[in-house]
Amino acid sequence: MSFDNRSVDPAAQEMLVHARDLGAKTVWDRHDEMQPLCGFGDLGLCCDVCYMGPCRIDPFGERSQVGACGADAHLIVARNLARTVACGAAAHSDHGREVVEALRNATVIANPEKLKMLAEEWGVAVDHRALAARMASQFGSQEGPLIPLLRAPEEQRRRWEKMGITPRGIDREIVELLHRTHHGVESDPVALLRGAMRAALADGWGGSMIATDVQDVLFGGPQAIRSQANLGVLEERQVNILVHGHEPILSEMIVAVSRDEDLLALARQAGAEGINIAGICCTANEILMRQGMPVAGNYLHQELALLTGAVDLMVVDVQCVMPSLPQVAACHHTKIVTTSSKAHMPGAEQMAFDAHNPKQTARAIVKSAIEAFSRRDPSRVNIPRHKMDLVAGFTNENLPLYLGGRFRAGYRPLIDAVAAGRIRGIVGVVGCNTPRVAQDSNHLALVRCLLAQDVLVVQTGCSAIASAKFGLLRPEAALEYAGPGLQEVCAAVGIPPVLHVGSCVDNSRILSVCVALVAEGGMGGDLSELPIAAAAPEAMSEKAITIGLYAVASGIFTAFTPAPRIAGSSVVRKYLEEDVEKETGGKFLFASNMDDAAKGILAHLDAKRKALKLAPRALTTYVPATGLKSLGCGQAQKHSQERVPEA
């Protein structure tokens, strides 16, 4: 049996065969067992908001067209979508809140320069506690606008103001959106979608942006860094600890203590050659960006990694952590440890993260992993040999330095490259994995197609890991995959054609790059005028929907696959795919395959290029000074008169 339809990653395919041999069930098996998926649910037509129902609308128009309360398909679809967005925004923003808290308690600041910069921006003393307090206030703020929102181009902010969707406070927008979806509150589907955008903006320009900034202050601003990705990074002779989830607070500490001499000695005593920390999902991206730690895989690798039998301990915190992990881990000696007070898991050990003494928690976890290592059965270890080199660690802050050096730092070379047509546009390809499509297939198809069309690709999250596994994050990939123009630019700067900018909260870095491009000038007045786009080719989580919506609300054309559950409403679909463009400048493209997505994106980039009238070079004509001007400001005459030769 081949598993081509489950993943295009050979490591994953190998592990799926192994899983079958072990008799282990994975997400794909469970997903298969779910078939056929609920049609009403998939169309977004099932309403369980109140307890009169659940109600469902007949998509063929034969039976009931409204729920018990009278809500029609459009309202039900919009309401379901809005709840999804609220949940996604809540997840990101709670992550933001968590790291702000960590900033308040911090004893070490890795990046004092950024602290200083942020303190200036936020109008507080250069003190992490003061900054944390000010940032924390954004969550409960009632009036707004959110402070980081002021980074957006003026024109963009005017659009939001006009639509009445400028977010006031992060929590407020989420709460208000949930309120509006309560039974019998907002009945206008489009008004509800605008409300959802408001909450989404509070995520993108609020919670997520704050999370990224604070993490940079706490753990250091990333620099371009080398590492490796895929299951092959697991070390047969070392203690393997996988960190999985989203928040870097504990994982950074685990990385740090894994270098402690006494723990290394302990590991050696247990017969290990060292301690290997690798990541899954966005935690992987966080410690990759800042520490260069290897990446074991993306979302759909979480169970497969456990099946190798080489993982001694997996520590998880929040988001995208499958409840199935303890069962899968049970195939081997692998220990699952939960750390967040928000995420418990039957079958896993809870080692509560102590915010005031993270080091202690981290050391306890590493010790526990060493202990687990001694129970590892080497004969049952099966690590796929696949791993790939990569370069990651790009940010809106270091990219200007890479483009221009310390003195001429800036985005001008990038803008010039876009203007000159060497780069056709810049596209952020982000998001998850989903068993609904073969793992990584959409990411790779889209990214490869864009590269060949001279599009510079910027990635985060599981999408970036997909590209990493297939070598697209190597600088050499420019020569292998990029069109001639992009190749020239990559060769000039020494960057890969795909820039990994971090985890899914770091999508805010992409917003920041766009803001900087607008600010540098020559590319229009707001984000919607730039030849840029976004894509989520294998979206799975609610956060992905929120991210997609804040991208659209920020004026960015966004290709989203698989489509969220909106097919049941022509009104919702039309608004998100067409009408919203007049309001925010951005819109969705719900493409069912990557050919359509790529075509749509390229057409959009070309349209924006055309609108900007990106002109070829114009030389200034130097006309030699004539007339009086040729006398010059100075004394040419006098001087040439003075060169008397011998008589």
């Binding site: 371009a224 890479y402 070379p413 803008i415 050499e476 030389l619 001087h639």
Partner: protein, 725 residues
Amino acid sequence: MSKIIAEAAIRGAYACMNRAEAMLSEAIHRHGRAKSIAFPDTAYALPVILALVGKRVEKLGDLEEALQVARTWLPAPPTEKLWLPYLGGTLDAGAATLVAHEAVEAMKPRLAFDFWLGPTPDSILREQGIKLVDGRMPGFAACVGAAPSDEVAEQLARDLQERNILVFMGGNTGGETMAAQLNRRGVEMNWETFLVPYGPDTSSIVHALGFACRAAFTFGGLRPGGIKETREILLYNKRRVMAFVLALGEVDDEKYATAAGAINFGFPVIADTDIPEILPSGICTYEHVVANVAHRDMPSRAVEVRGVKIRTVEIPIPVRHGPAFEGERVRKEDVAVEFGGKYTRCFEYLTSRPMDRLQDGLIRVVGPEIADVPEGARLPLAIFVEVAGRKMQPEFESILERHIHSFLSEPMGVMHLGQRDSVWLRISKKARDAGFRIEHLGTVLLHKLRNDFPAIVDKVQVTLFTGSDDVEKLYPEAAAAYQHRDERMGALTDESVDIFYSCALCQSYAPNHVCIITPERLGLCGAYNWLDGKAAYEMNPHGGNLPVKKVEVVDPVLGQWKGINDFIQNASNGAFLKFSAYSMINDPMTSCGCFECIACILPGTGGIMIVDREFSGQTPVGMTFSSLAEMTGGGQQTPGFIGIGTLYILSKKFISADGGLARLVWTTTRVKQKLGDKLRQRCEEIGQPELYGKIADETICTELEPLIEHLAAVEHPALALGEMI
């Protein structure tokens, strides 16, 4: 691929830095950290280090600190596989290389041989660099290495000269240098010919970048400091200084490193060899490195890559021409034919005629041609130019006539000196052999007048009299015209006109400054008087000179008018509210960086001193001209300091609000010589004929204390006038 360049440049940067550090530790070992170090006659210490590191290096110890800073800029070289971004690091390595180069240049013994010029003093920077400022030069070329042959080197140099491009030469290719090649071809190399050989080492080309940095300081009013200031200095060069690097011959690691440094300034590299290219733009305006360019295409390709297209004027004469040839001398043994000097009468006379009296384009040689006389012959000459035009006015005649000097200096192999009836003109054998005849002098005048003054000159007719009878016959008419013009000019006063002229000729380099030119106060550069402003406006109403109405008098003593003040407020975006034409204390006029002289008050003397820009020594105020220029230039209003044209000293309105000429207690011998009898005459006019002798100069003293003693001894009138502030 540019990774190869990055590797080479970063390697080269390390090598340069190591060398500089080794030299430095040797020097410190020998002389100690307190040993002072400097380039001659500059206020900008080691200018590249000042611009990039923000540090004024005066001692070896300072240099040590600067090198330590620059070393931290050196990145790790890119790896063979899985490399990290290298462009930014390469640019940083380039900047560090320039710091190292400048350190080496400052430490190594001065070249005192051959044709090498070495570092450029500020005085030359001001005099010659101004050509970049006012648009007479489109930019400069920094040539590194040597051409494949002497002939190619000369061709390249001539091609660049013809485009008015200043040529800096440095470095060598396998021991050969472009300057040596030109020298063998007998090409004259100095600032006047736009050919400047710095030295045979790659490091010497750093002087070209020092020139660029100082242009930003001097004309752009920029100040060194932190990274932000450095960025501004580099961007100033990217935007305003149209310079580029011509890499001749093999490009080694150190040349790559140096080129990377130049790219920071936005100066692209054009190479004649097949090196990797960097085409995407951004740091430079267009391509960064272009390779494999044939020598004859280099100048045109270079200016295009730098973002300029140069329009040249074709004149049908058999020799090259352009301002760069203006500086060439024709030596005695090279003369084919000679006019004037102290041997024969030679004068030029331009007059206007009614339109219908002229046959446009007619050039006549009346008398012997060049072929009719033996080699080295001395002939009399009258250059008689008649022009007509609908907008021609008699007062423009002298302005056009003044241009004959530069017009006739431009053909290669023709030397022109003097004006009016003191002309000395030589035509070289080389020019004659190329086919140049006396008639071609007319061709040049015809084309230049038509091309340079199209708004006022519609018809031109030139007659060249080379027979002594004809010359003598025309002379009285010319002499009468000279006298008449002088009298009319003398009668022009600030009160007799309603309009002054603004001058923003140097605004592309000095954006914060604007001059006001009145009949009795010429532009501070010394090149532009009120009539020039008038003519310039007449020729181009949208040019750098605009008429400014005086409107009502605000203060007749200070020289303030409502119209002028309104204009200044507007032109300076509100930075300045008023200008005084006759005071250096109250609201003095601002200066760009082009001033011919600086006048500044001397506390304790009740007087002022005036120092000209060619004077490099110490002055009684305790500052050199360069240091004074820093305080005075850049468009700032500094009471007690003004930039002036030398001739303003002779004006009746010379700081008349502050006490006038009687305040002058010290100046340079050069100023005294230049003004000579006219200054004596002015002293008499103000009723103090003995004043001239009381004005001290550098031969008497260059310090304040002895000056005060001198003034007391000679009873200088300034002492009685009291302190100015």
